[in-house]
């Protein structure tokens, strides 16, 4: 009985949650610099035991309001599975980065995960149909 309880405690400690992070990079970067910045965060996540589930690069987008006097920015989204402790470390990295205009990390509940999967499946089907047509 005790051993079961102890075992479940260990499992709980390393529970992986699904998160989604969106960040905006300054538009002054060149294409290469931007890719390098994105790669830094991908590597940071994978090196620290996170598993990247999905990624989206929205490219240069107009901002709804100016941030640091910039009216555009590069948006990048990463969906990943990680332990909770990693998020704080990730956000420290974000804060130290001067290329970063804004970032947002949210935990995805089961409905959000289902929604994202459905959306991805739909996009996949659409692209498949396009290829066939």
């Amino acid at each position: 009985m005790h051993s079961i309880l102890y075992y479940s405690l260990i499992i709980n400690k390393f529970i992986m949650n699904q998160y989604e992070t969106v960040f905006i990079l300054t538009p002054v970067l060149s294409d290469e610099q931007m890719k390098e910045a994105v790669k830094k965060y991908q590597d940071f996540l994978t090196d620290n035991g996170a598993e990247i589930v999905h990624e989206e690069h929205w490219g240069m987008r107009k901002l709804a309001y100016a941030i640091q006097k910039k009216s555009t920015g590069f948006y990048h989204l990463i969906e990943f599975k990680a332990e909770g402790g990693l998020i704080a470390e990730l956000e420290v990295q974000y804060k130290r980065d001067e290329r970063m205009l804004r970032f947002l990390t949210v935990k995805l509940d089961k409905h959000a995960v289902a929604y994202n999967e459905k959306k991805r499946r739909k996009a996949k089907d659409a692209s498949k149909e396009k290829a066939e047509a």
Binding site: V22, A64, Y65, L104, V106, D109, H111
Partner: protein
């Protein structure tokens, strides 16, 4: 002369209760998650100044109004929606 006709008579009963009942679109369509990245959709829940509309206007249930508010705030943070605006629509 026509004093007996003071009582007004209608051919069809006046429509009093024709006001459409409001409903929560999330409950009705079984939407469980409100995406903060979908700014076009969230635009339905703000007025032209970019302020959140109250529940009594949109008909959203309490449970989902909270989620709408959360999503709008997230969208504002990553600059997909404005904090202040005029003539948004």
């Amino acid at each position: 002369m026509a004093q007996g006709n003071s009582e007004i008579k209608y051919l069809t009963p006046i429509a009093v209760d024709t006001k459409k009942k409001k409903y929560c679109r999330f409950k009705k369509n079984r939407i469980k998650y409100i995406d903060y990245k979908d700014a076009d959709f969230l635009l339905k829940f703000v007025n032209e100044q970019g302020k959140l509309l109250p529940r009594r206007i949109t008909g959203t249930s309490t449970k989902y109004q909270k989620k709408v508010a959360q999503a709008v705030k997230r969208a504002r943070h990553i600059s997909l929606m404005p904090y202040v605006a005029d003539l948004l629509k």
